[in-house]
């Protein structure tokens, strides 16, 4: 039985400040030279329905997604469009209208607006609702976020038309838990505050199962489940303080997290316990103020923070951040990167399919190219697993730190934690499990650490 340190090393959990290095075979990248397309390509615009949160508390997370999509579309359109002919046209739809309205809207976009493709979605409550609808509509779809395991575990176990570009959700809770196990192995008690919906439940489950393995002596002493998009966390903070845990783990995000950390500051919470978040710095980076404490394990949805991979080591990221900053006067979040990458992934798939079939490739040809694609985006390599259409890239997290270059906290560049994603997610062929396949996989295959 390995020790905790050994097992962490086995998993490949590392603290370092390096960018991605090894290039695999068949990796595609943004900077690829444009080849002349085969066959005749219609010049009809390629219409993408993009649904995300444009209003409400979710908009801080949702709007950058649209901006990422937009930036990539403009880059592609500047070269004449997809295959040099088909300009990308984006139709916006507001995810905040509610799940039921969203399913109707997706149908409208496909059947009435005749979109060629669908992108977007922030809430993990919405992808399981929309995934099956997209399959019904035979609508090629790349979900950017809404990354619940449930989508490909249960809702659409054998996807044909739908893909997802950002990391699977279970990685979020697991990454957070591994970060805690590595950094603060001495903790004996911990408390939870999670938004009461799919994402919060998912983080709770995976943090719990990993921590059970890694820190068997640590006990959960308090749970609080505020409603998503709440603004008052006072009672939840009080409850947490009363339980006197060594650590608080929270998956609050966006405006909720901002309101939470301001209130927690005035309650002196950060002085009394360690804090680990899954998505603390994952919303738009500038939403968090410099009053945010340093040294908080600050999750970025186990996906991407614009400061990593650092500029000179990975020009793709430097290039993307600069363009994004110039265009929108803000820094990209993981969803902006996800949407940007997804759009270029699409472009690559279309081009590859064209080379095989000539003319404008049909959806099946594009899907064939998307499946199993390895692609180098700003955040590193992303691999689209053919069995479940889920995009995977190495999970990262880190610690909040204020630096003079930015008016908001960033991830401490010297203490970035990365984990190869395959080591924290269920492999292909693992039976579907409850609550998630990754949960049962961790529960059944990871060794139990001694105290």
């Amino acid at each position: 039985m390995p020790t905790r340190r050994e097992f962490l090393a086995q998993l490949g959990v590392t603290t370092a400040a390096v960018g991605g290095a090894a290039a695999g075979i068949g990796v595609s990248g943004i900077a690829q030279a444009q080849e002349k397309p085969k066959g005749t390509i219609p010049d009809k615009p390629f219409r993408i329905g993009h649904m995300t949160f444009f209003t409400g508390a979710g908009a801080v997370l949702g709007e950058p997604m649209y901006k990422g999509n937009l930036l990539a579309a403009e880059e592609i359109n500047a070269q004449g469009g997809l295959l040099g002919k088909r300009k990308i046209e984006i139709l916006k739809a507001d995810e905040a209208a509610g799940t039921d309205a969203n399913t109707k809207e997706m149908r409208r976009l496909r059947l009435s607006e005749k979109v060629d493709m669908f992108m977007g979605i922030t809430s993990s409550g919405n992808t399981p609702a929309l995934g099956p609808i997209a399959e019904e509509l035979k609508l090629l779809t790349i979900f950017i976020d809404g990354c619940t395991d449930f989508l490909f575990d249960k809702a659409v176990p054998n996807p044909r038309y739908i893909f997802r570009s950002t990391n699977i959700q279970s990685a979020d809770g697991s990454t957070c838990a591994l970060g805690v196990a590595m950094t603060w192995p001495e903790i004996k008690t911990y408390a939870h505050i999670h938004p009461d919906y799919a994402y919060g439940r998912n983080c709770y489950d995976h943090f719990t199962v990993v921590t059970k393995k890694m820190l068997p002596k640590a006990k959960s002493v308090s749970e609080a489940w505020p409603k998503l998009f709440s603004t008052d966390f006072t009672p939840h903070i009080t409850k947490t303080l009363a339980a006197k845990p060594d650590l608080l783990v929270t998956s609050l995000w966006g405006g909720d997290y901002v309101a939470f950390y301001k209130q927690a500051l005035q309650h002196g919470l950060f002085g009394k316990m360690k804090v680990a978040t899954t998505l603390g710095l994952g919303s738009v980076p500038q939403a968090i103020g410099k009053d945010h404490p340093e040294g908080v394990l600050s999750g970025v949805h186990a996906n991407y923070h614009f400061t990593y991979p650092a500029g000179n080591r990975w020009p793709l990221n430097k290039n993307f951040v600069e363009k994004y900053k110039a265009k929108f006067d803000e820094y990209p979040n993981f969803q902006a990167e996800g949407a940007y990458t997804a759009t270029h992934v699409l472009k690559t798939a279309v081009e590859k399919a064209n080379r095989l079939t000539g003319g404008w490739p049909d959806d099946d040809a594009i899907i064939g190219q998307l499946e199993g694609m390895m692609y180098a985006g700003p955040g590193g390599y992303v691999y689209i697993r053919p069995d479940n259409h889920q995009g995977y890239k190495d999970a990262i997290t880190g610690f909040s730190k204020n630096v003079p270059e930015y008016p908001f906290p960033i991830l401490d560049p010297n203490r970035i934690i990365t984990i190869p994603i395959r080591n924290v997610t269920a492999p292909p062929g693992w039976p579907k499990g409850e609550p998630t396949s990754t949960y049962t996989w961790i529960d059944q295959t990871w060794p139990q650490m001694k105290a």
Partner: protein
């Protein structure tokens, strides 16, 4: 022991805000027999307006004078109320209740988007006041001073309202109108004036609730709809049209919520509604209500 004090503060904080919202709703119903479904949106308007004034108009300022901007939202809500009552609601007093409910439901939808249009779709905050006020020690715990200010404002508002209604001449007129509008009118009371005043006060209370809550929390779209349903619970428990009922109902809801979150974290919200349902089955007119 200290933690109990903190829990009590939390309950009072919630109750203060709820009392202001539900009290306004109940006052308007008591005088005009109209249930304003858009009432929650006046609360939201108060929050957004104050957040705009402090967080945007005077962004970056750190002056203690900023506290003077706190009532911005309340005043704006009151002004809107003073305009809405004579223009939109007055034609409906003689018409069946379903139309009154519907016109305020329409107003709710319009105000929801009006707020979005004017103040934008993003959450807004005015946390500088919350931070300026700092914290104080409650035994081994620290507690935000600002929250105590909110409790004080809620308490003062209740006291002021009581004095206003039971100790002033206008209060007499208000109560007379509420009991028998026709007789009051026959006695020379300008009922239209009383109505517009009562509605304005009710809106002011809702706006004030939004104004004082926003520095400690933030303003988000949809907060009005949520607030309305919570204040319905308050008036259902306390009895529609009764200010005492609104006060007691707000305290009950505040306490139950605090206990619910601490003891039944899985179902905090449901506990609240279940208790309201329990009261309904036993006393359908509420604790202080006069049922039809």
């Amino acid at each position: 022991m200290d933690i109990l004090v903190v829990h009590l503060f939390n309950a009072l904080l919630y109750a203060s805000v709820l009392f202001l919202i539900a009290g306004g709703l109940s006052l308007i119903y008591g005088v005009m027999r109209i249930v304003n479904l858009a009432h929650g949106n006046l609360f939201a308007l108060g929050a957004f307006a104050t957040a705009w004034a402090i967080g945007q108009l005077f962004a970056g300022s750190d002056s203690a004078w900023l506290f003077l901007l706190l009532p911005t939202g309340a005043i704006l809500a009151a002004l809107l109320g003073a305009v809405l009552e004579p223009t939109l609601l007055r034609p409906f007093y003689r018409r069946p209740e379903e139309y009154q409910l519907l016109v305020t439901f329409g107003l709710l939808m319009i105000l929801e988007d009006l707020i979005r249009f004017v103040f934008g779709a993003y959450p807004r905050s005015a946390s500088v006041l919350f931070e300026k006020a700092g914290s104080l020690h409650v035994g081994e715990y620290v507690y935000p001073r600002y929250n105590l200010m909110v409790i004080a404002i809620g308490g003062l508002a209740a006291l002021f309202l009581w004095a206003f209604i039971y100790r002033t001449k206008f209060g007499v007129v208000l109560r007379a109108t509420s009991q028998d509008m026709r007789r009051a009118s026959a006695l020379g009371v300008n009922v239209n004036l009383v109505y517009v005043q009562a509605f304005t006060i009710g809106c002011f209370m809702a706006g004030l609730a939004g104004s004082i809550i926003v520095p400690g929390q933030s303003a988000v779209l949809g907060m009005g709809v949520d607030a309305l349903v919570l204040s319905f619970i308050v008036v259902v428990i306390g009895g529609l049209g009764s200010l005492e009922g609104a006060l007691v109902g707000a305290l009950i809801v505040g306490i139950i919520r605090e206990i619910g979150i601490s003891v039944f974290p899985e179902i905090e919200l449901a506990v609240l509604y279940l208790i309201a349902a329990g009261v309904l089955f036993v006393r359908p007119a509420g604790l202080f209500g006069r049922a039809a």
